[in-house]
């Protein structure tokens, strides 16, 4: 391997690879040496185009939230960010030209954040073109397509609005799309999936909805630390009561038993906390039903009734049986 890679010392480089393997749950799949070799073997940095449609840029902010390896080490050193509206220096026609040139060259990772309006293309225009057209053109020569966040993966919140936001899969039928839902995308899921692709040039194994099994293989409930309280029927009713601090949130609207994500193990923001540990119910943002079929968010609604019925029927395994 070359002594330096993009001006990085070999030590820094291996640190990145080891950090990536550990932080993103890839260490069962690759050693840090495998990651290092795959990245060093590339003649040039793999290009990335990131498009934003009906979005809130929350997934972009999630991207710049991983402590180790740092976002700079990915954005500047490992990939070539050819287009990303929130990050790039260029504006206006200079920015649009950069995207067009990258598209001509092909072979890039395409990340899409936000939904696409289906009621009328004019609800999302960039550089004078409809977002739908930009996505279609850019998808043509992409080496991999990743839909980040609930909006791009399943339509998310905009699906229920009069602009009728649709997911990426609706306007790119027949294409393999790696879906990374949750609102916003989990920073580790995104970084890990990009690195998985850079190492293998393949999509990771996906579930039937298109989500990587390595992150979305189990329900939130299966790994929840409040699981035993669910089994015992200890449901939090008052956030002021220290005794109830760790009780089950199902009566506050928790969708954990129906939501597939490794949030309780991985937690969020470098392992500091996550919704349920903060006393807030899981809203099932990893699921296609989010948001409009998960309402009410903070009360026992149809989802809760379904969960409690399953519990009563013994269809949700108890902690000790799991």
């Amino acid at each position: 391997m070359a002594k330096s890679f993009d001006g990085l010392s070999r030590r820094d480089f291996l640190k990145f690879c080891a950090g990536a393997a550990a932080a993103f749950g890839l260490s069962d799949l690759f050693t840090s040496e495998m990651i290092a070799e795959a990245l060093a073997a590339a003649a040039k940095k793999p290009p990335l185009i990131w498009l934003e449609g009906q979005d809130c840029a929350g997934c972009t902010i999630s991207l710049i939230s991983v402590e180790n390896p740092s976002p700079a080490s990915l954005i500047l050193d490992k990939i070539s960010v050819r287009y990303h509206e929130t990050i790039m220096a260029a504006s206006g026609h200079i920015a649009e030209k950069a995207r067009e040139e990258a598209v001509k060259e092909g072979g890039y990772v395409l990340v899409v954040e936000g939904s696409i309006p289906s009621a009328d293309d004019r609800f999302c225009m960039v550089g004078g073109h409809s977002f739908r057209r930009i996505v279609k053109e850019t998808a043509e020569k992409a080496a991999a397509i990743i839909a980040v966040g609930a909006c791009a993966a399943f339509g998310g919140i905009p699906r229920g609005t009069p602009t009728k936001g649709v997911p990426l899969s609706t306007i790119l039928p027949g294409k393999t799309i790696i879906k990374l839902p949750t609102c916003p995308v989990h920073m580790d899921h995104l970084m890990g999936t990009i690195i998985y692709f850079l190492v293998t040039h393949k999509a990771p194994p996906l579930d039937k909805l298109g989500r990587p099994l390595m992150y979305y293989g189990m329900t939130v409930h299966e790994n929840c630390r409040r699981h035993a309280h669910f089994d015992e029927g200890e449901f939090l009713s008052d956030w002021n009561d220290p005794k109830q601090r760790d009780w089950c949130l199902v009566e506050k609207g928790c969708k954990g038993p129906e939501a597939y994500s490794d949030c309780p193990i991985r937690r969020w923001n470098n392992g500091i906390n996550f919704c349920i540990d903060a006393g807030a119910p899981c809203q099932g943002c990893s699921e296609p039903e989010f948001y409009d079929r998960h309402t009410p968010l903070y009360a026992a609604g149809p989802v809760t009734e379904r969960i409690l019925a399953k519990r009563a029927a013994g269809l949700i395994p108890r902690k000790e049986d799991a």
Binding site: D6, G7, K44, K45, G53, Q54, D55, C56, A57, G58, T60, I61, S62, I64, S65, S70, A72, I75, S80, V81, T86, I87, M88, A89, S91, G92, I94, A95, E96, P117, D121, R122, F123, C124, M125, V126, G128, H129, R133, I157, G160, T161, P162, T163, C183, P184, W239, N240, W268, N269, N273, C275, A278, G279, A280, Q283, T295, P296, L297, Y298
Partner: protein, 522 residues
């Protein structure tokens, strides 16, 4: 007739913004600001459980995340009759304080700085500082490999760009350091907020995370690191830039615009809510730093015009009465952003408005000492100075929280008012980093009957109104020097100084009809 220049998309902002300017004799003669993306959140909320509103409206924006959650829960608190306990108020203040630090650092270093730096000057760095040499090695490495994305392409540096290799290299090092610091600020907020972006623990009536003393200690130690960065790096950088290479722009007040300022006030400093960190008020027609007359803020004076927006024509209305139907066929409309006015006057909101309304001694002192007029550079200065103010208040809130936690009956939530009322209405105000934010809710039969938000970037990015008065972005571009129409770098400098957030600004739809006419662009 001058030359018309279109910049679309304006990048390094949140959302989709197009700016058009007419340039004559090297200066902007006229300007148009257009928001080019809409979602329509309010219609989605109709008929839903009112408690959903804070979670859903948080998704207006993921950059200034959770600010809508705050305005929303305040509107809900009012409508539910909830009395948020002091513990709940303190926890809300602490997580939003963390959001301020993250947001202002990202704005200055990651969204704005590239407009002022000639990055390639780093190659000329000849100093021996090991840290700066590493930065040089990194950037030179990118150049040698022929791949400097996303730092290039760019608008070409001009006479106001910083080209001194030592200064540029230091600034880029701070860009990289600030990238770490903004993560730390989010991590700190997440101790109580659950996750970021989009905190989870802010709900109507208070907060969901019952804190323990170790969490407060951890929060405080992260705050120490951030405070050091704000005081020793961020503020000195802004002052050095503003009073050094950018002083001509600062003294000329480039990007000043209407110079009318509005703040709703925010952040309780005592349990009774009598003392606020940022005071509410209105200041109109500011000329200098002397004799500022601050008038009281009255929300009844807010109206929104749709004269030049893609909504069915209507007279200006107060947000409680707001109801807009998308109309994409209107010939003279040019934006999804509506035009809010206060007492029929266009206003600027944000850090500079807060600083002026507060008559902040540090900001006004700096402006006086260097002859800085309200404009783009003053906006950056106001942002840095108020970050310090927030950091100091956060220490006070940590102390208050620690004291409150040891008292018997410590509370974080008003559980008696958790169930939605049959009827009710409420207005909620908050000052997010980008400026004055208001949410209005009406509840009928325990469900949402109307929901409206007037957000900071709607004030700043608005199009013209009934009287033809330009919005603040538009007005602030008048007279801005554009010597080379191919390189309108001053236009983006002025626009970015506001920290635009367009996804926030556009979110409305008619709650009654949901009508949209069909028309395809391609």
């Amino acid at each position: 007739m001058g030359k018309r220049i279109t910049i679309d998309p304006i990048t390094r902002i949140e959302g989709h913004l197009k700016i058009e300017v007419e340039v004559e004799n090297g200066k902007v003669k006229d300007a148009w600001s257009s928001g080019t993306m809409a979602r329509g959140f309010e219609a989605l909320l109709l008929g839903k459980d009112p408690r959903d509103a804070s979670y859903v409206t948080s998704r207006f924006c993921g950059v200034c995340f959770s600010v809508h959650q705050m305005a929303s829960v305040r509107a809900l608190d009012a409508a539910f009759g909830a009395q948020v306990p002091w513990g709940g108020i303190l926890l809300r203040n602490l997580v939003m304080g963390a959001e301020y630090i993250y947001d202002h650092l990202v704005h200055f270093y990651h969204l704005s700085a590239l407009d002022y730096l000639d990055i390639m000057a780093i190659a000329k760095y000849t100093g021996k500082d090991p840290e700066l040499s590493k930065v040089k090695e990194k950037v030179v490495g990118l150049v040698q490999r022929g791949d400097t994305f996303p730092l290039t392409p760019r608008y070409e540096p001009d006479e106001f760009s910083v080209k001194d290799p030592d200064v540029v290299t230091t600034a880029v090092k701070h860009y990289l350091d600030a990238l770490k610091m903004q993560i730390k600020a989010k991590n700190m907020g997440v101790i109580f907020g659950g996750r970021a972006p989009h905190y989870q623990s802010i709900v109507v009536g208070g907060f969901t995370q019952y804190p323990d003393i170790n969490q407060v200690a951890r929060f405080r130690s992260m705050l120490d690191e951030l405070a050091a960065f704000v005081n020793e790096v961020y503020i000195p950088d802004v002052v050095a830039f503003g009073t050094g290479p950018l002083l001509p722009l600062a003294k000329a007040g480039i990007g000043g615009g209407h110079r009318n300022y509005l703040s709703y006030g925010s952040f309780e400093l005592d349990e009774a809510g009598q003392k606020l960190l940022f005071k509410p008020g209105v200041v109109v027609g500011v000329k200098g730093t002397e004799g500022l007359t601050v008038r009281p803020f009255q929300h009844e004076k807010i109206t929104e015009s749709v004269r030049y927006s893609w909504y069915k024509n209507d007279t200006p209305r107060h947000p409680y009465e707001g109801a807009q139907v998308f109309d994409l066929e209107r010939r003279d409309a040019y934006s999804f952003v509506k035009a809010p006015r206060y007492d029929e006057t266009p206003m600027e909101v944000g850090p500079l408005a807060r600083g002026v309304v507060d008559r902040d001694p540090m900001l006004l002192g700096l402006m006086n000492d260097y002859g800085v007029k309200p404009g783009a550079v003053a906006r950056h200065a106001a942002r840095a100075i108020e970050t310090k103010k927030v950091v100091e208040a956060m220490y006070h809130w940590c102390d208050e929280l620690t004291a409150a936690m040891t008292k018997p009956g410590f509370k974080i939530h008003d559980t008696d008012h958790w169930q939605p009322p049959a009827q009710g209405e409420g207005a909620g105000f908050f000052e997010p980093p980008r400026g004055a934010l208001g949410h209005w809710i009406r509840i009928k039969d325990h469900k949402i009957a109307n929901y409206q938000a007037v957000v900071p970037s709607t004030w700043n990015a608005s199009p013209r109104d009934e009287r033809g008065l330009r919005g603040q972005y538009e007005e602030s571009l008048i007279g801005v020097p554009v010597p080379d129409p191919e390189n309108p770098i001053n236009v983006v400098r002025v626009i970015r100084s506001f920290d635009p957030c367009l996804a926030c600004a556009i979110h409305l739809i008619d709650p009654r009809t949901n009508q949209i006419r069909k028309f395809l662009v391609e």
